[in-house]
């Protein structure tokens, strides 16, 4: 009898080019087709070949929100994978490897790990005629060891290799089948963790953060994207480029991030919904132009996929270290909106909202994600990506007919009670106007630094800032009311906090969670009562200084009682939160 069914973590690891990502994604699909709930994420190094990459799958019979520490079976394709990730295997877990792989067996078994060596490459060569299928063999073996029905693996092989022709499909099928047979025969009995399909198997998508953001952007009618490749944002540029033709998007890789944001400003000014995506280094280069979008009131969307800094930092690890920079980047004061989705669903909806908010308030909108969220993948029902049902709100955008009827001259920067000046796109005879980075009058002309004009126009812009907050949302609450412990966080740490709250409550500590997606302008009126009501307030963030806690203190006066911070480049996990809380003896 297996001790654990549908509660395990699988990690595939190896060099870039060894099929870790594609193999992992394929296996995840096979599990998803069996109705299982998954939480996947991956790490990759900035190498074309070599290095060390992994793809991790946590599988369960109930919805998952986070990865957890500890791996039950590690499929290692390189010696480094054993050295680096071997210690992550739980006691009694297993290492699956090609039996020609050279590593220190004793070091692994000393930790209580079982060694499952198999002739993966030999099977691939003998049966499929090509060693390249050794990862297919490993996936077959993996399914055999966890006793997951082979038909699910076979279906994914048929689907994923279909475009390479029947010969490749048949070869891979045979190799996988033999891997399955050997794996099951030799190692199913000693392995305590099993995976079984569930009765309910609705069609679910497996989608990561960058994909969900990109789909949201397309759904929102993004018509222009410019970017410069930078990990971990590049896959957004690639996704948009591969969908440009089909969804009428102009996608431009530029000479640098300055040109990227400038292109977006030009396109946004001309009337196209426009965005760029970058990481902290590229965002640093964009800082000056960000202020131009603020001053000239051009709607743009910027995705800032964070990675650990400062400077080049750790390019392929994760962190939430750019929050306060995003809030205050660029000289002077101007309205901007900062949003930080925590899940795939939120990535989709936040992208749509970002374009609407940018056009309504005519200002830059920054979406903060991080490396973890960019690759993190969960299964979603089609109804959870309601692409055709999104609202497109372009704000006060004058139509050609409204411009025709305009009684007087068009004032691009008209001083209004809301601060929003109705926008007209260049190209209409009644809409001839100037936009300007200098302080300007209502027409958009330079003013020679006149005091009264400055007060009027700067006042108009900041009036928007004060009104934007009405469109923003307070934190979501998870867990019981009147908790003795409240976790507070933002962005991608949602899942880890949510599972930590579940664990705390199961252990008898009444805990809940406040999660912020809408961060700036700080939704004070909605957030402050909830924050003030917290008995023991714990800020949970993937950075070194507790940036969000600083912000909350500045905006509400409430100081977090504890900080749970992680800045080793690894994502926040429920266990990490609990360990840090225990260390601080916060809960019983």
């Amino acid at each position: 009898m297996a001790k654990h069914v549908n509660d395990m973590t699988i990690r595939l690891a190896g060099e870039a080019g060894q099929g870790v990502e594609s193999g992992g994604a394929g296996f995840a699909q096979a599990l998803s087709h069996g109705g299982l709930w998954l939480h996947n994420f991956s790490e990759y190094m900035s190498r074309i070949r070599g290095g060390l990459n992994f793809f991790q799958i946590r599988v369960s019979d109930h919805p998952l929100w986070s990865h957890t520490e500890g791996v039950h079976i590690l499929v290692a394709f390189s010696p480094d994978a054993v050295t680096d990730y071997g210690p992550h295997i739980v006691r009694g877990g297993a290492l699956l490897f090609d039996d020609t792989l050279k590593f220190d067996h004793d070091a692994v078994t000393r930790r209580g790990t079982q060694l499952y060596g198999m002739p993966l490459a030999k099977i691939a060569q003998d049966i499929g005629g090509n060693k390249i299928m050794m990862n297919t063999c490993a996936l077959g073996a993996l399914a055999g060891i966890v006793e997951y029905p082979f038909e699910f693996v076979a279906d994914v092989i048929k689907k994923n290799f279909a475009r390479k022709g029947d010969e490749v499909v048949q070869g891979n099928l045979k190799v996988a089948e033999e891997g399955y047979r050997v794996g099951r025969e030799k190692y199913a009995a000693p392995f305590d963790w099993k995976v079984a399909p569930l009765a309910a198997r609705p069609d679910r998508m497996l989608i990561n953060g960058n994909q969900a953001l990109s789909v949201g952007a397309i759904a929102a009618g993004c018509r222009f994207m410019a970017g410069y490749p930078m990990t971990p944002a590049s896959s957004i540029l690639e996704f948009m480029a591969s969908h440009a033709k089909k969804y009428d998007i102009v996608v431009k890789q530029t000479e640098d991030e300055i040109a990227a944001i400038c292109g977006v400003i030009g396109a946004g000014y001309a009337g196209a919904r426009a965005m760029t995506a970058t990481s902290g280094g590229g965002f640093s280069l964009m800082a000056e132009a960000l202020g131009l979008a603020g001053m000239a009131e051009v709607p743009i969307v910027i995705v800032e996929a964070q990675r650990p800094g400062p400077s080049t930092g750790m390019p392929t690890k994760t962190e939430q270290g750019d929050l306060l920079f995003a809030l205050f980047a660029s000289q002077g004061e101007f309205p901007r909106i900062v949003l930080a989705p925590g899940t795939q669903e939120e990535c989709f909806h936040t992208a749509v909202r970002a374009f609407n908010l940018a056009e309504k308030w005519q200002c830059p909108v920054i979406i903060m994600t991080d490396f973890y969220l960019t690759t993190m993948m969960r299964p979603l029902l089609p109804s959870e990506l309601p692409i055709e049902k999104v609202t497109i709100d372009r704000g006060e955008l004058l139509t050609p007919e409204e411009l025709d009827r305009l009684p007087g001259p068009y004032l691009r920067y008209k001083d209004t009670p809301t601060g929003i000046s109705p926008r007209a796109l260049p190209g209409h005879a009644k809409a001839v106007h100037q936009a300007c980075s200098d302080e300007h009058d209502e027409y958009g002309h330079f003013e020679d630094e006149d005091s009264a004009n400055r007060l009027r126009m700067a006042g108009k812009r900041m009036r928007k800032f004060h009104n934007i907050v009405e469109d923003l949302r307070g934190p979501t609450i998870y867990g019981p009311e009147r908790a003795e412990l409240t976790l507070m966080g933002w962005g991608s740490s949602y899942g880890a906090m949510r599972e930590a709250v579940d664990l705390l409550n199961a252990r008898g500590t009444r805990a809940n969670l406040l999660h912020f997606v809408d961060i700036w302008p700080f939704p004070d009126a909605k957030a402050a009562p909830l924050i003030e009501a917290a008995r023991e307030l714990v800020a949970v963030e993937s950075n070194q200084t507790g940036q969000f806690a600083h912000l909350v203190r500045a905006m509400t006066g409430r100081r977090a009682d504890r900080l749970v911070l992680r800045w080793d480049g690894r994502p926040m996990s429920p266990e990490y939160i609990l360990t840090k809380l225990e260390e601080a003896k916060v809960h019983a």
Binding site: A259, G266, A267, I387, G427, V432, Q434
Partner: protein, 289 residues
């Protein structure tokens, strides 16, 4: 021909008396009037510098941006709405110095953008420092011993970098300059019009008289602008004789925007926005099953 006054606006011009920028402003207005391009059909971009104030002194769509960045902003606007005439006004520091990376990259992309560079070989607005185009030995507040660097040659760079039209004008001859600007607007692709523009306050070397003694017109000298080698040779001429006119022009090259699939159905900027239909939405979701 439209009335040149169409492009006038009531804004007070703040350039110094005698500034070379006046000639450029008049030439731009004249070119637009002769080509009958209405103020709403054109979109100006400029950066920061004395010359970048030019669009503010005109009745036309304009976006005065930040130092060095008008080219990529113009590129974004052109790709969003290729139906508009896009004209970029930069200075020499703006266009060739801080914006140098954008300059060399736009050359090889060939968008239909007119790039007018007001080249006075000095920083005027910041009160007299040397510029990328200042000649070696040029004495300024930041080069008290004279500039050590050789001057940047925008014309050879542009021809070499893939520009499909490269011209130089002189702001002391606005009629000739207007003809060059007209040719540039009508050129289907990127065009550089570098303009010799005396700064009467901070450049006591490259003055109106200096240029009047030296400039000659390429079209009167039997130059063939389709000959790239000849264009390079003329672009290297600087000294006793300084050529103005069209150095290089090649026609028939596709523009960047001609080759973007999303623009085949017209400008993306003015296309109505609506949520995707159910079929397109399903197709997008299907990618993730």
């Amino acid at each position: 021909m439209l009335d040149v006054k169409t492009y006038n606006n009531p804004i007070k011009v703040t350039w110094c008396p005698g500034c070379g920028d006046y000639g450029i402003l008049n030439a731009v207005k004249s070119a637009l009037a002769q080509l009958e391009i209405h103020p709403h059909e054109v979109l100006f971009f400029s950066g920061i510098g004395c010359g970048s104030k030019l669009p503010d002194y005109m009745n036309a769509n304009a976006f005065t941006t930040i130092h060095g960045r008008s080219l990529p902003i113009a590129m974004g606007a052109k790709l969003a709405n290729p139906a508009l005439h896009v004209i970029c006004i930069t200075g020499d520091g703006d266009g060739y110095g801080i914006g140098g990376n954008h300059f060399i990259n736009i050359l090889r992309r060939n968008p239909h953008i007119v790039h007018i560079a007001e080249n006075n070989m000095v920083y005027g607005l910041t009160k007299g420092q040397y510029a990328p185009t200042s000649e070696r030995g040029f004495v300024t507040s930041t080069t008290p011993e004279g500039s050590i660097e050789i001057a940047f040659n925008p014309l050879t760079t542009a021809i070499n970098g893939g520009a499909t039209m490269v011209a130089r004008g002189f702001s002391g001859d606005p009629k000739h300059l207007a003809k060059l600007i007209m040719a540039a607007i009508q050129h289907h692709g990127y065009s550089l019009v570098d303009v010799l523009q005396p700064c009467v306050i901070y450049n006591k070397v490259n003055t109106y008289d200096y240029y009047r003694e030296r400039v000659y017109k390429l079209e009167e000298a039997g130059h063939d602008p389709t000959n790239r080698d000849a264009a390079m040779a003329r672009a290297h001429e600087w000294g006793e004789k300084i050529p103005i006119g069209i150095f290089y022009q090649v026609s028939g090259e596709p523009t960047y925007e001609d080759q973007v699939p999303a623009l085949k159905a017209g400008p993306v900027a003015t296309r109505p926005l609506a949520p995707l239909g159910a079929q397109q939405a399903d197709a997008l979701r299907r990618e993730f099953f």
